[in-house]
Symmetry: C2
Subunit: 315 residues, 2 copies
């Protein structure tokens, strides 16, 4: 089976490698590629049976209702909050997403950012380039033996927990659901409020929901141990920025984040003033392995739907 007409919205040619475009084109009689917010969307969708949507593209009720042929909406990414999946469901239109493709990339970055910080690697490289090979003046420490708290034990959190175990840390977690497989590996469950004050490293791995927004609120922020390192590769909405700024000012915690596109410009400016707030561009998801996995899952979702055994359907 093939689609009659695929319309891609907001997926640039360079977002997918040529071989994936080739596969996609083999799955439809016709493909039209439109940029986000193109005035042509309405016209092109009229006879489309498949929409492929890039990150941040809004597919609301109105757009879904344009085409009476529509059967499938494929999201190139994990978050599908911009797609009205519930409405699509009422019309038996499948919505699929691409989950977990960057779990490893993000989890590995957590340890890259930690070690970069606790071993002062930027300073070390700089000094070596200047010809200064002295080993004095470094306040380095180790991961082994430290309490490593993981908040949110989903795909990324689970991998972070396993890597931290390899480093010999005392790995503990709090998550909405208990994960017995990881507990069997020595990763211990603890109540969030009991765990926070014990953490030497505190890594946030919740997805953003109403329950997790503002998770590090003022009360919890104040309970973080002096000298702790907090790592946030999840959305900054989990963190109360005023409370964070207060702790940063006290200069007794280090906060490391990889800035997400959605972070408010003002918050970013406020935080970048503090030396103990280390900000990275959003590079957590950027590895060549993650890029391949993302494309693989995205295209397989389309193929599997056509074969009658849909994968990663979210509605």
């Amino acid at each position: 089976m093939k689609f009659k007409k695929i319309v891609t919205i907001g997926i640039s040619e360079s977002s997918l490698d040529a071989n994936y475009w080739k596969t996609i084109d083999s799955l439809a009689e016709k493909r039209i590629s439109l940029p986000k917010d193109s005035p042509e969307v309405k016209k092109q969708l009229e006879d489309a049976d498949c929409i492929l949507a890039g990150f941040g593209v809004k597919i609301d009720k109105n757009i879904i209702d344009i085409s009476h042929e529509l059967k499938f909406i494929g999201m190139l990414g994990t978050g599908y909050g911009n797609i009205d999946a519930d409405h699509a469901r009422t019309k038996n239109i499948a919505v699929t997403n691409v989950p977990g493709y960057a779990a490893e990339a993000v989890a590995e970055l957590v340890f890259g950012m930690i070690l970069e910080n606790i071993r002062e690697l930027e300073k070390a490289k700089k000094k070596a380039r200047e010809g200064n090979y002295s080993d004095s003046g470094y306040k380095s420490s180790e991961i082994r033996g430290k309490v490593f708290g993981i908040f949110g034990l989903g795909r990324i959190g689970s991998r972070a927990a396993e890597i931290a175990s390899g480093f010999g840390a005392d790995v503990r977690y709090w998550s909405r659901n208990r994960k017995k497989e990881l507990e069997a590996k020595g990763i211990t469950y603890e109540d969030a409020d009991a765990l926070i004050p014990k953490c030497d490293f505190l890594s946030l791995h919740f997805s953003q929901t109403k329950d997790t927004e503002n998770f590090l609120n003022e009360k919890r922020m104040q309970k973080i141990k002096n000298g702790a390192i907090v790592i946030n590769t999840a959305p900054m909405e989990l963190v109360n920025i005023d409370a964070l700024e207060k702790r940063l000012k006290e200069d007794n915690v280090t906060f490391i984040l990889d800035h997400s596109d959605e972070m408010k410009e003002d918050d970013l400016k406020r935080l970048s003033k503090y030396k103990n707030c280390i900000i990275y561009p959003p590079i957590g998801y950027i590895t060549k392995e993650a890029r391949i996995a993302k494309q693989d899952i995205f295209v397989k979702n389309i193929e599997n739907f056509l074969k009658g055994s849909p994968t990663n359907r979210v509605n």
Copy 2:
């Protein structure tokens, strides 16, 4: 039991924390501290029964023969090549060293240096500070799934192997002796020459002996896979510098080292010209945990000798 007179040579006051000096002083009626190459050494050693030696201090036959009371030489460090331990043995003088105190520190640094490199963290931090939060232009990759070759499975190599396993790498090793405990954890043994061409990451962990000097000779250096990352936290004597320079010039491998004090100034200059050779100061051993462990083992060696149950005796 106590020593009558301890002479320390080449151990500065700041090398040990005050509490350790206090313990040492409680173990002798008298302590004299001399800098390395002090003209007073001969005179002060005449009635000494204990020498404590700092890194790089030469304790040869002539020095050992000065005192007829000498019973113990304690080395503050792992390498004891500067101490004539064999001659000391003929006079029933115990020589002790401090092994393994920095195994974790060095093993963790290996992964810090790797992730710093494959995630381009220095560039990322710099760009973020300049207000450039773009995620494009990064050629990042992951550790998971890659062939991670460990050469030398001693204390440091074993920990590096376990950490690499936590990252989900395909960890293989070559070492003089098989290590069945680690093989039981999925770390596989392979002949060095068969393993070298397969490695995506190749980490050297031999101590320097006649057998390991020049281990990465011209032939082996040429067999390293294009795109591989070689990490050397061990002495650079393991590596043929001419052969390395040739590969660096071809620009198809990355070599990361933490420069040791003994590295020749000329070699350092030659290598620092290459962008794909990342040189760090000798920070592998520098963590606060390693510093404490080093002092602990050093002082316990003295205490245990006095109690009649010597530890870490090397002769």
